[in-house]
């Protein structure tokens, strides 16, 4: 089972040459002006784990309630607890257990595999546990950038940075789970440097 290895209390694995733990995010970005170049890799905000967990658990609860209602309905209609009923019930039970485990244990793993870096060339994002991806968006290719926040994210003070490029497959690149202030600073930096680049040409 993959989630056993991913206890949230474990030390984060170092994936990147200069991985930073969450404490340094606030320090670095708030201390230095957003326009300075910083080639270190940062984790997401720690609250990302909580937000992902809560939304996972909400999803789990919805599935749980509907599967319980479904099973009760099935029982009332057929009035039968034969082999098929037991098989269906246990399959649904397993699905629910999987969803609960996923909601609790998966977010920290995902969190640990997220890294981002914004240097003079552009924004680089590392993500993915099994299916790993690294993407680099050069500053001058940023068409525009948004920061969005759902209600749950807002209560935890995090936001999602979305970068739009003129590309096709990567027409928009998401970086979720940033501290909202950092996300805003990063957005301003990306957009401003992108535009400055355009004007200087």
């Amino acid at each position: 089972m993959e989630f056993n290895a991913s206890d949230p209390e474990n030390e984060p694995t170092d994936l990147t040459p200069a991985s930073a733990h969450e404490g340094s995010i606030d320090n670095t970005v708030s201390e230095t002006p957003p326009s300075t170049v910083d080639s270190r890799y940062y984790s997401l905000d720690r609250n990302y784990v909580s937000v992902e967990r809560i939304s996972g658990i909400i999803f789990f609860l919805i599935v749980l309630v509907s599967s319980v209602i479904g099973l009760i309905g099935q029982f009332i209609v057929t009035w039968d607890t034969g082999v098929i009923f037991v098989a269906i019930a246990s399959a649904i039970g397993l699905l629910n257990i999987y969803l609960l485990g996923n909601a609790i244990f998966w977010p920290p793993v995902k969190y640990r595999h997220y890294r981002w870096c914004c240097d003079e060339r552009g924004l680089e994002i590392h993500r993915g546990v099994w299916w790993k991806t690294q993407i680099s968006v050069p500053l001058s290719r940023v068409q525009h950038a948004d920061v969005s926040q759902g209600p749950l994210q807002r209560s935890y003070g995090i936001g999602t940075l979305t970068i739009h490029t003129a590309g096709t497959r990567d027409a928009s690149v998401d970086l979720p789970g940033l501290n909202h202030d950092i996300a805003l600073q990063l957005r301003d930096r990306l957009v401003r440097q992108g535009i400055r680049g355009h004007e200087s040409s």
């Binding site: 003079e120 060339r121 552009g122 680089e124 993915g128 099994w130 299916w131 790993k132 991806t133 690294q134 993407i135 680099s136 968006v137 050069p138 500053l139 001058s140 290719r141 068409q143 739009h164 490029t165 003129a166 590309g167 096709t168 497959r169 990567d170 027409a171 928009s172 690149v173 992108g194 535009i195 680049g197 355009h198 004007e199 040409s201």
Partner: protein, 549 residues
């Protein structure tokens, strides 16, 4: 994925004024236009408000009848089967179409004023589109025999932004078109491109008399023999077959053919022999017919194909009945792709496709086709020369390309894949037709292995100082290249399978949206090498500004 809203809109400061079709700017406010005055040459004589040619009414209806053709056909064929209500349906579709065409004709007008092309349409909901002339990239002309009869043409005006033409003027008289074209191309040659003009290219010289024949360096002219070869090599005819079978079933065409008559014309032979012969003959006939249809399609579309370089613009003109002219500024080329389908390869031919930002997107078949089939067919020895003309200062030597090695294990991995596939196939075969179904897997194995070997040999990746090159494809080898300033994002990906084989995939995304049908996605790379290329390309890309013209 194609997000039309993300196709590069102009990122500069003038972006906002590109499409101001808001109802608020009903009058062309001279103050709002002042920022374009310096860019537009003073020589422009304003074109007064002009309406479309009176035949527009008719041609607009015709162009919409393409959309109406199915209901009309259903109505007509329905009528022949004795269903008269379908005629009423036909009329019910036709009359609103006629009214909307009339409405468009009476309300659409354009003018050139103060360095801007202003197109107004609508009566209650007025739309005013203002396009600064110096931003206009393409003035495409479409002329079919009917158009020629009335000496008119359909004109499409494109800028770098979006996938849709900025304005479609259907139809203008040739005189009006020439006036318009003269006005637009009187602009100074694009000065914002840092690329110097090659000495060989004729400098852009606007001519006042007949702007259609601006002097240019002819790059490619396609003789009919090539088109015939390309048609034979192509499967375009399948399109006709599909349409024909569809029509056959839809309208029950067999009721017009008396099968007994057909039988009598055939020579009388023994039953089984006759049937086999008949089937073979039919298959050959269909194949031949398909090829003929392909040839016809190619000739109709590309007859008299000419590619010219006029200053920084590439001009295409072709077509037997429906003439198409298109203009592609060189610096807008995002992506160049050379396709060599097996048949074409045998005849020593190749085809080249290009991708541009904006205008050449997936939407609008008519429009994108001129770029999709940039050079539909070309002699192999001309490819290198042409590629070098598509961008100043690029060197294209395919033979001496410094192909980088892929992972050593690629052969092993692909062979393993082939074996797994044949085992699965054997399993499926056994499941559906026991007891000998598993033989299918054994039979398929050598083919799959051969395919794997071919595939690993076809995959190639290279990088020069100016561009990246990616080659792939077994039956249709495709070589694509894109330039640092056209790279939008770079990424590397690793699946769990990749991880097992210690491999990574390098992907390069550009604004090119589709016609080349070849994305740069280099699989089976050594992880360290992939990482190095990732860093290098993103570094190079960051040095250049994207240039959408």
């Amino acid at each position: 994925m194609n997000h039309p809203e993300n196709i590069p809109s102009d990122t500069g400061s003038e972006g906002a004024s590109l499409q101001s079709d808001a109802a608020a700017s009903l009058t062309t406010d001279p103050v709002a236009n002042t920022h374009n005055v310096d860019a537009a040459p003073e020589v422009l004589i304003p074109i007064k408000t002009t309406w479309l040619h009176p035949t527009s009414l008719f041609f607009d209806l015709i162009s919409h009848s393409r959309e109406l053709i199915v209901p009309i056909a259903i109505a007509v064929f329905g009528a022949t089967t004795g269903n008269s209500t379908s005629l009423f349906f036909g009329l019910a579709i036709f009359i609103p179409a006629f009214l909307s065409s009339a409405f468009r004709y009476f309300t659409l007008r354009y003018k050139i004023d103060n360095g801007e092309l202003v197109v107004k349409k609508g009566l209650i909901f007025r739309r005013i589109r203002t396009v600064p002339i110096h931003r206009i990239q393409n003035v495409d002309l479409l002329q079919n025999p009917l158009h020629r009869l009335f000496r008119v043409a359909e004109v499409k005006i494109e800028t770098a932004s979006g996938t849709e033409p900025e304005a479609v003027l259907r139809v203008l008289s040739l005189k009006k078109f020439n006036e318009l074209r003269e006005q637009i191309f009187l602009r100074e040659p694009t000065t914002n491109s840092a690329i110097p003009l090659p000495a060989s290219a004729a400098p852009f010289q606007p001519q006042r008399t007949v702007p259609e024949i601006t002097p240019g360096q002819s790059l490619v002219a396609i003789p009919t023999s090539w088109l015939i070869k390309a048609g034979i090599a192509s499967n375009r005819g399948l399109l006709f077959l599909g349409m024909a079978t569809g029509a056959w079933w839809q309208f029950k065409l067999e009721r017009f053919i008396n099968l007994e008559d057909v039988k009598e014309t055939l020579p009388s032979l023994d039953g089984t022999l006759r049937n086999t012969l008949l089937i073979i003959a039919l298959a050959i006939a269909i194949l031949a017919l398909l090829r003929v249809a392909s040839v016809v399609w190619f000739i109709l579309r590309f007859h008299g194909y000419q590619l010219q370089l006029c200053g920084e613009d590439l001009r295409i003109s072709c077509g037997l009945f429906t003439k198409i002219t298109a203009t592609v500024p060189r610096n807008r080329i995002q992506f160049i792709s050379i396709h060599r389908p097996l048949f074409l390869q045998w005849m020593g031919l190749a085809s080249i496709r290009i991708e541009t930002a904006g205008g050449g997107g997936m939407s609008g078949q008519d429009k994108s086709n001129s770029r999709r089939w940039f050079v539909p067919v070309l002699a192999e020895q001309g490819v290198a020369d042409l590629i070098q003309q598509l961008r100043t200062g690029i060197e294209w030597q395919e033979a001496s390309m410094d192909w980088k090695p892929l992972s050593q294990d690629i052969g092993r991995r692909l062979r393993r894949g082939a074996i797994v596939r044949s085992v699965v196939l054997a399993g499926i075969g056994q499941f559906f037709s026991p007891p000998w179904g598993w033989v299918a897997g054994i039979v398929a194995l050598p083919l799959l292995l051969l395919w794997a070997a071919k595939k690993s040999r076809a995959l190639r990746y290279a990088r020069t100082e100016q561009f990246v090159v990616f080659r792939s494809g077994v039956l249709t080898p495709k070589i694509s290249l894109t330039f640092w300033d056209k790279v939008q994002t770079v990424s590397i990906a690793q699946t769990p399978f990749d991880k097992r084989w210690k491999m990574k995939t390098l992907q390069i995304d550009t604004a090119a949206a589709g016609p080349a049908e070849h994305a740069i996605r280099v699989r089976y790379l050594d992880p360290a090498f992939a990482k190095h290329e990732f860093k290098f390309i993103s570094g190079e890309a960051a040095k250049y500004e994207p240039d959408f013209g």
